[in-house]
């Protein structure tokens, strides 16, 4: 029997995954309205990775993300209204409409930056870890990235330095098997991605990225090592993106992946798996989930209203903040 605290923890995981699912779903649904006028890389299917990792972190811990940053932003505690305002290009967006969907950040929540250049934010996470370790604080830095980023040289350069100095970094690879439409097998030799760590005598942990508990356990172990000064860890979380690489639609028909593959992964839905687990335990029932959904949808609708109604930035704002003074 899980304790109350454990149960609350698990329900929070469920709530967070559900919330990301609903936010992303709503973005997909409303994208055709042409009010979100920027490329969007949705995280549906991959929510457990973000939520499981963030559950092992404190708000002070620092996270860096990529073009596919919605789930990381929300899981890390980023402000929903500011996120949707950003995707709507509004002045009250989390970066003032400067970046759009691929550049989300919420510094107080520890989502330091999202960089849509593949691999581009990985060394920055090593850099904050270096600063924090020099300062003697036990903050952990997390670089989130996709499987394609492991092909960029900067990933290897960053691992080398992090391991050399035993920095408190988590390298979190969400392996969704594709770079845009290109499968892993066309880009890398066959072997587990955790082997990348072997090149640097680094610890690696593979986990089922659609099992939030497995993700959390792996991340918690890596965080413990990092805070103890034992150095960085590479986490490889296998998962799957349900929608197209960029945009609101399904795209299994265009020929780069099969409906069967998709359905196989769909059967591994991280939300459904957690629901199943929690209902089996009696921690969750349909009514409780409906209440959650209702609460979340109220928040989401409100945030969309906010995002839609907020003003666009003025043209002159484009010229601000080029240089710090």
């Amino acid at each position: 029997m899980p304790s109350n605290a454990e149960r609350d923890f698990d329900l929070n995981l469920f709530y967070d995954i559900l919330r990301i699912r609903l936010v992303e779903g709503e973005i997909a649904k409303r994208y055709a309205d042409q009010e979100m006028r920027c490329p969007v890389h949705l995280s549906i299917g991959q929510e457990a990775a973000a939520v499981g990792v963030c559950a092992a972190l404190t708000r002070q811990d620092r996270m860096f993300s990529t073009h596919r940053c919605h789930a990381h932003y929300l899981a890390k505690g980023g402000n929903l209204k500011a996120m949707l305002a950003e995707i709507h290009g509004k002045a009250s967006g989390c970066v003032g409409g400067r970046g759009g969907s691929m550049h989300l950040q919420d510094i107080p929540a520890g989502l330091m930056a999202s960089v849509p250049i593949v691999g581009g934010s990985i060394p920055m996470a090593v850099g904050t870890a270096l600063a924090d370790s020099l300062d003697g604080v036990d903050t952990v830095s997390v670089a989130c990235f996709g499987d394609a980023a492991t092909e960029e040289g900067v990933f290897h350069e960053s691992m080398n330095f992090a391991q050399l100095r035993k920095l408190p970094v988590l390298f979190v690879c969400e392996n969704n098997l594709y770079s845009v439409y290109t499968p892993l097998a066309q880009r890398q030799p066959a072997r587990p991605l955790t082997d990348y760590a072997k090149a640097h005598a680094m610890t690696a942990i593979a986990a089922d990225g659609n099992d939030v508990f497995a993700v959390h356990a792996a991340a918690a172990a890596a965080v413990r090592r990092a805070r103890a000064g034992a150095g960085p860890t590479l986490l490889v979380l296998d998962t799957y993106r349900w929608l197209e690489h960029c945009g609101p639609s399904f795209d299994n028909h265009i020929g780069y992946r099969s409906e069967e593959e998709y359905l196989g992964w769909r059967a591994q839905d991280p939300l459904e798996r957690l629901r199943h687990h929690l209902t089996g335990q009696g921690a969750l029932d349909a009514a409780a989930e409906a209440r959650m959904t209702e609460a979340i949808m109220a928040e989401v609708d409100q945030a969309f209203d906010y995002a839609r109604d907020e003003p666009l930035p003025a043209p002159a704002q484009a010229r601000e903040h080029v240089y710090a003074r």
Partner: protein, 360 residues
């Protein structure tokens, strides 16, 4: 009349790739997702069918090695064409471009050749944001040993890309994503234009406008408006940015006495700086007014459409600057200006074409 066939710029690029592959079996196609269903905005569609799997080199996401590998393949006699979806991705390969591609011929005393083409696409609109919208032509045009081509029109896209692939030097071909939608006459079959420098697109005698890539299309719009109020602007499309051949521009300014440059990239240290400086040195006494330069302002490109107005040079701005250079009065230009303003109001600031619905 087959010669008057009209198609898009993107299709013209595609034809150049297909035909070049037929023309020369040494041509290889490199890219990240080069053979995927999106086919680099459709421009590489059909390459596999035309040329077989072996000539499509699907690359891991590793731009630096990808470029170095292409340079190596070129040293061994291949003619690789790399397609980058965005200009920015080539930045990761700048060492390979500047040092290996750009110097192998020089450093071998002429023995090595690097017949390499690097296609790069400038993003714009639909909230691309600061890291998917940079047009870094001046950065590449600075590099000795490299050629830089920036076609504006569909026929040029086909003809110049074909010439780039035939050329024995590394050639950066910069395409603007919004040019991809442009339509125009494009000759069928294998069609090559010489890499012979700027071209007079519209002759005129009152003011010289030199633009490149998508800005040439925008300037063309302004030039038509100028004509409607009696100002005959000469529009020159730069086409070949390195080596920069200024003769046609100098000749034009010798006639008009007035020069306006419009860059697709940043105004600061842009092509316009080099063009103005060179024209001033070669045609100083012909100039009757200070040249004007337009281009992207000194900040990153924000994503939100709220901040787009004022960022990109537009037909109104070009029209106004050219009219000012030509000394036209406010009354003269008023009707055309109003018409341009009306047109601008009808068109969203962040899409190239009314049909465009995102995501990119």
């Amino acid at each position: 009349m087959p010669d008057e066939r009209v198609t898009t710029y993107a299709e013209a690029i595609r034809e150049a790739l297909i035909e070049s592959g037929k023309h020369d079996p040494r041509v290889l196609f490199f890219g990240e997702g080069i053979g995927d269903p999106s086919a680099v905005f459709g421009t590489t569609k059909g390459l596999r069918e035309a040329h077989g799997d072996a000539r499509l080199i699907e690359m891991p996401v590793a731009e630096n090695a990808l470029t170095g590998i292409a340079v190596g393949a070129a040293l061994a006699g291949k003619r690789p064409v790399i397609s980058f979806h965005r200009v920015e991705f080539a930045l990761l390969a700048l060492d390979q471009i500047l040092n290996n591609a750009g110097k192998a011929h020089y450093l071998s005393g002429g023995k090595h050749k690097v017949p390499l083409v690097i296609r790069m696409i400038v993003g714009r609109g639909w909230g691309q944001g600061p890291e998917h919208s940079q047009s870094l032509e001046a950065l590449f045009a600075m590099i000795p040993g490299i050629k830089v081509v920036m076609p504006a029109f569909p026929a040029d896209a086909k003809g110049l890309l074909t010439a780039a692939i035939e050329d024995d030097n590394p050639v950066m071909v910069i395409e603007h994503r919004w040019c991809h939608y442009a339509r125009g006459h494009v000759p069928e079959g294998y069609y090559r234009q010489p890499l012979d420098g700027p071209r007079v697109v519209v002759p005129g005698r009152h003011v010289t406008i030199v633009a490149n890539s998508y800005m040439t299309l925008v300037a063309l719009h302004a030039v038509k408006a100028l004509a409607s109020v009696g100002i005959e602007a000469e529009l020159i499309d730069t086409r070949l940015l390195r080596p920069l051949m200024v003769d046609a521009i100098v000749k034009s300014v010798a006639k008009t006495g007035r020069l306006l440059t419009v860059d697709t990239g940043w105004r600061t240290l842009g092509m316009g700086a080099e063009i103005v400086a060179e024209v001033v040195s070669q045609a100083f006494s012909s100039l009757t007014a200070a040249p004007i330069r337009m281009g992207m302002p000194d900040h990153p490109t924000p994503s939100s459409r709220g901040m787009v107005p004022g960022v990109y040079p537009d037909a109104i701005g070009i029209f106004t600057a050219a009219a000012r250079l030509a000394g036209a009065s406010a009354e003269t230009i008023a009707p055309a200006l109003r018409e341009l303003e009306d047109q601008a109001r009808r068109q969203p600031v962040d899409t190239p074409d009314p049909a465009f619905k995102g995501p990119f």
